[in-house]
Symmetry: C2
Subunit: 154 residues, 2 copies
Amino acid sequence: MAEDPWLTEDEMATWRALDRVLTRLPRALEAQLERDAGLGYMEYYVLAGLSDQPGHTIRISRLAELAHCELSRLSHLISRLERRGLVRREPDPDDRRSTRAVLTEEGYRLLVAVAPAHVALVRRLVFDDLSPTGQRTLREAANRIVTRLDEAGA
Amino acid sequence: MAEDPWLTEDEMATWRALDRVLTRLPRALEAQLERDAGLGYMEYYVLAGLSDQPGHTIRISRLAELAHCELSRLSHLISRLERRGLVRREPDPDDRRSTRAVLTEEGYRLLVAVAPAHVALVRRLVFDDLSPTGQRTLREAANRIVTRLDEAGA
DNA sequence: ACCCGATACGTGAATGTTCAACCATCGTAG
DNA sequence: CTACGATGGTTGAACATTCACGTATCGGGT
């Protein structure tokens, strides 16, 4: 931390804009999911992640990696989804420490029902009026930040 | 919602990258603030917001607007900061419904102590290795998204 | 065969956030 | 001046997340 830490005027403006996106965009997306399906942001992406897996099944610890979510949180979250019948647990035959989460029919139907509106909102908030060049630059910037996060071990 | 809602391959990749930034960057910044000062992300920005005001004082409802934070949450949050002696409440002489939050000396000292490391982390995660052009494009994209959020009333 | 650290969860208490009331004050239309 | 809706803020219960710990299993080394 020896070097001058302060941001330039330009960087400050960029950071303020990015910070507002960071705090408000997830809130806006979550609000819609909550209204339409009673799902939180993380809950939606857990269901979506499950639906991408073969057999709509995945080991819980693997799911935690994909979602960058702690095991404990995921365990509570899956318990909630299980109470609502959207997911069920199943012992993993290959490793008896392990538990697999399986998307139920009902969970899949809910996901299919709510996904279009969610994607449409993402399109409206993020991609409408974003040029191909702008999009490519945004993706590169985001990927660079993710790389830094990985390096920092977050 | 009549139009085709799905994202193209490219948009999907961009969204995945942005989503990871959305979920992991605030977590990383908060983790550092928590370690160094026992402060959450929102608590830090509330203290920082206060230190920008003349007299280190601001009406609570005004602070809620700036932080895009609900009054109830802010009220609880300020109560916590008050218990730790970082902030105090003060009746507003101009409007007796209103309460003003004032940054204490101790709160200001904590903020000054923790800010450099926080800013340095922002610099490392976001700005190092981001070209001036890339930064400008990122800022424009972020501002466009904020505009959409405002339009959507979020 | 046995021990020991690592891995994969589950659980309960503590903490933080949201939601739905509530009260006091303000501005204003009648 | 008074009644009434709007504004500013607090509070407590419900819910979600984090933290610390407990349990069971696995994969070696010896």
